[in-house]
Amino acid sequence: MSTALATDTTFLAQREFHPFEAGGETFLYLVPSAAVFHLDEASLAVLRTLEAGAASENDIVAALAPRFGEDTVRRSLAELMRVQAIGLTTAPKETFPRVLPQADFPLTTMVLNVTNKCNLACTYCYEYGEDKIVDTTCDPAPNYMSEETARKSVDFMFEQSGDLPVAHLTFFGGETLLNFKVLRKTAAYARERAKELGKDVDFSLTTNGTLLRDEVIDWLADNRIGVTVSIDGPKEMQNRFRVFKNGMGSYDYAMPKIKRLLERHRTRPIGARVTLTRQTLDVSRIFHHLRNEIGFWEVGFAPVTTADGRGYAIEDTGFDRMLGQFQELAREFLDFAVEDKHHGFSNVKDTIEEIHKGVSKAFPCGAGLGLMGVATDGEVALCHRFAGSDDHSIGSVDTGLDRKRQFEFLGHHHVANKTDCSTCWARPLCAGGCYHEAHVRYGDTGVANLHYCDWIRSWTNTCLEVYGEIAVRNPGYLEQFES
């Protein structure tokens, strides 16, 4: 080909992107590359010209040359084409390549379910509540992980971590601290093994806070264990669902212990993880209580995982309300970020980090790939939420990973298989959403979580706006996300 080919017969059209405005400027979020570009006036005008449909290069130039000059318009067209914001109509539509990771993809994080028992009886619990996957009371698997299984799990983790210099081990439950004895020994064993292997190991755990005795707190602090506390907010919200088996709320029991933890454990930032329900949907009040009054370093929110129609499920109007409150907190986050201050709303910070890196996901999360969960009997599951489920097992710490099952799962769950996601601009970040949520909602881990698509798109747009405004007003803030 040569430039002699008549460009009047060559039509250009918009490709896939999501434009957004922030700080008085216009940006493009390109799909599926997840690149963010700032547009100048000429390139914005070019894109607007193509809003009505495809046009030839010469038509675009003719329309815009009086405003910007021919040379500027052609250069702008060329740049937009190079980043694939626009393209030739004759070019094939880019399909999302269904590339599977290599077979020896290293394990980054292993979640060890040291027990499936809990001393609380939270109504909405995905492990014990109406939507449970595994019937732990009838299951032959032990309620508490043995020391031996835990050691084997640690060996499995290091073996699967390949050449990575650091392995992350997360203790989970049930209520994790019910098996404190094994937990403590396992951490010591993992340290020992890491030393032998010349690696580092990093620990974290999730707890409901009710069993934080002084001895436990000291151990957590001395061993630099990252702690996340599951807590739903001020007293009346915490006590609404997070109750003991006799129905008594857990706030008064857990809070003094949590305060002692925050006071004593200064070696790692401590986060709160809030489950939002229809009845406890006051994001801003929960955030300020946990962050400012109690003193958590970070607070993250997740809507309750539930089948449709449960009493605590967030209904459609609730999602709108939740979005409004998230947006309010996101604006607060922005004000802090502009002044280089820490805010603590982890949902927005995590998303901004992904936006800055330009993450474009083939899978919604690392489950079954860089992250795996181990059940009390040593069965390896996709993640901690599927621990103990035979249908979602991908091996065992005794016999190793079942690579065939793992790759069947990955092949089946690639975002390229999710037809519903193929036209959504938010798919580089969402990729269809949580497998467990999809399983509970639709009975199929491979289905995109269609019930919250609008919410995800609106929230992603908000995060893009916050990101863009930080990029305009305090770009230095974003350097912390560059590794």
Binding site: M1, S2, T3, L5, T7, T10, L12, F27, L28, L30, S33, A34, A35, V36, F37, H38, L39, D40, A42, S43, E57, D71, T72, R74, R75, S76, L77, A78, E79, L80, M81, R82, V83, G87, L88, T90, A91, P92, T95, P97, R98, V99, I355, H356, K357, G358, V359, S360, T419, Y467, G468, A471, E482
Partner: protein
């Protein structure tokens, strides 16, 4: 690049990849700037500079045989089950697919097939 400014890390990587030179070095015509590959005949060919997995590109426009074989002479890289392409083929193809008479004999032939890409398995078999 003068008109687009890379903001995030991915954008910077793309910029380095597509425009490694100094700003302003972009060719005068965007079509020319994108080289041979973009104006080449798009059929069962892959662009020479495109690495990665083989991606089927659909029917051949000018070559015979058309979709009977893929670019390697086999059938593995065809544009997926032919049923998926049925709508394109019977509406717009230069060699239209033969489909049931939807006006008289089988009006609901595709009734259960809302989106061919997903639901092609639901297209009914029709017997005269």
């Amino acid at each position: 690049m003068d008109h687009l400014k890379a903001i995030n890390q991915k954008a910077r990587r793309i910029q380095e990849h597509v425009a490694p030179g100094v700003p302003g070095e972009v060719a005068a015509s965007p079509v020319a700037a994108n080289g041979d590959a973009d104006l080449d005949v798009v059929a069962l060919e892959s662009s020479p500079d495109r690495s990665g997995p083989h991606i089927p590109l659909g029917c051949s426009l000018v070559f015979a045989p058309g979709w009977e074989v893929d670019s390697t002479g086999g059938t593995a890289g065809l544009c997926q089950p032919v049923e998926r392409d049925l709508f394109d083929c019977h509406l717009a193809c230069f060699w239209p697919a033969h489909v049931p008479d939807q006006l008289n004999h089988a009006p609901d032939w595709t009734g259960k097939c809302a989106a061919a890409q997903k639901d092609w398995r639901k297209i009914d078999l029709i017997f005269p």
